[in-house]
């Protein structure tokens, strides 16, 4: 008899996801759900949803959630975690949310080494608002606010978040992965697991930057987006572990 060997995670709800066809958000949601199940964290988890396409993340999980103002998820998470050190708190943030309006909050949460995990969806664009330039938009990439392509002279070059946060003493774990193919998905899960463990072991701030797609605002099919992401984003945003203080043995 065949057995069910793969299904949606237990902590996820029946609600169909509102994301566009092929959007990476769904893939990452499932990975998060699997880890919450596997690590048995559901009962003590509070997720912090951003403003961005992930704003409704709480529709899809049956554990506690707090929706944060745009960019402020790390501050909200700090507020949740500090007086409740036994909770498991993660933020789920887009690149506009985390690397533009929320720059100060992410830097200082990392610097204080808040015991939280940041799941950072880098899709090189503002998805929810219809495709504006993000801090991580690639040079030359066309968006509604860089209609002739991102011009590094006037708009700056894309910000490499993991690299920047790794200069801060408080960052315990920082890794960049992608969800462009099954291998990437498996690596993403491993990275997130590591990041979750850092928090569970009260070792401080962990972040996983996940290179993702936004087929809708990139104006591509979902399948083409995966290719574009791998061909264009990975070269500029190299994959890998940028910081691992658990290895340095001093965290």
């Amino acid at each position: 008899m065949e057995k069910l060997v793969f299904d949606k995670p237990k902590c996820m709800t029946e609600r169909p996801l509102h994301y566009c066809p092929g959007c990476s958000h769904g893939i990452v949601h499932r990975i998060v759900g699997e880890l919450i199940d596997e690590m048995d964290l559901r009962d003590k988890t509070v997720g912090v949803a951003p403003v961005g396409c992930g704003v409704f993340a709480y529709w899809y999980f049956d554990f506690d959630f707090s929706q944060a103002p745009h960019g402020r998820a790390p501050a909200v998470a700090t507020g949740i975690k500090r007086p409740n050190p036994d909770l498991f708190v993660f933020t789920y943030q887009g690149d506009g949310d985390l690397a533009a309006i929320g720059t100060a909050e992410i830097i200082h949460a990392a610097n204080r080494s808040e015991d939280i995990t940041v799941i950072f969806i880098n899709n090189a664009i503002y998805g929810m608002t219809g495709g504006q330039m993000a801090p991580t938009t690639l040079v030359g990439q066309k968006t509604t606010t860089s209609p002739y392509g991102r011009d590094p002279e006037t708009m700056g070059k894309p910000i490499r978040v993991c690299e920047m946060l790794s200069t801060l003493e408080g960052t315990t774990y920082a890794e960049r992965v992608h969800v462009g193919d099954p291998k990437g998905v498996i690596a993403t899960k491993k990275a997130l697991k590591k990041a979750f463990e850092v928090q569970v072991n009260k070792k401080g701030f962990s972040i996983v930057e996940i290179l993702s797609t936004c087929p809708t605002n990139w104006g591509m099919t979902a399948v083409d987006s995966l290719g574009w992401m791998k061909d264009n984003m990975i070269p500029y945003f190299p994959l890998g572990v940028y910081k691992d203080k658990t290895k340095e043995g001093d965290a």
Binding site: H18, Y19, C20, P21, C53, V55, M128, T216
Partner: protein
């Protein structure tokens, strides 16, 4: 009232060109010196894969551009039909895309036109012409403008790079009009 006061909802799947259909009607209205407003449903609900827009064409200044009590519904897919027929006023005009809507409208308080819009568009070689077929049908059925007025507005809503496709669009409009008895 006898006065012109079209409160139109155009609705369908994301790719069916419902916004463009609405715009075409709006431009036609503008060039016919009618009062007109067009407004899309906007924001993340689009993500669901459906789209709709409201067009109001009137002799009077347009009050609310948002149509809560439509008297015209152009439904290009089934969810749209089922959603909006519920709020159609008595005596309205309902045009639905029978090519892909396999049910009959429940609403039956006015003029109901079953239009095989997608089929006609496919016959013309491009399913994206569904909206133009529907536009032709609407103008014919409502008599608010002449088909020529509608056709004259086409170049104003189609972006320059696709101007080579204008004749095809016109053909679709005409087929749509012809489909209305």
């Amino acid at each position: 009232m006898g006065k012109l006061n079209e409160k139109i909802i155009v609705a369908g799947f994301g790719g069916q060109g419902v916004l463009l259909l609405g715009k075409l009607l709006s431009y036609t209205a503008m060039y016919s010196d009618k009062n007109v407003s067009w407004i899309p449903s906007y924001g993340p609900e689009m993500r669901g894969g459906t789209a709709n827009c409201n067009v109001v064409i009137s002799d009077e200044p347009v009050g609310s551009p948002i149509v809560t009590e439509p008297n015209v519904l152009i439904a290009l897919n089934r969810p749209s039909l089922e959603k909006f027929e519920q709020i159609l006023e008595e005596g309205s005009l309902l045009i639905y895309n029978s090519s892909i809507i396999e049910v009959e409208p429940k609403w039956n308080n006015g003029k109901v036109i079953s239009l095989a819009a997608s089929d006609i568009a496919n016959e013309l070689g491009n399913p994206r012409l569904t909206n133009m077929v529907a536009a032709g049908a609407y103008v014919k059925a409502s008599g608010v403008f002449t088909i020529q007025e509608l056709i004259d507005a086409v170049p104003h809503v189609i972006s320059k790079r696709f101007h080579n496709l204008i004749p095809l669009n016109i053909e679709a409009i005409e087929k749509g009009a012809a489909a209305v008895s």
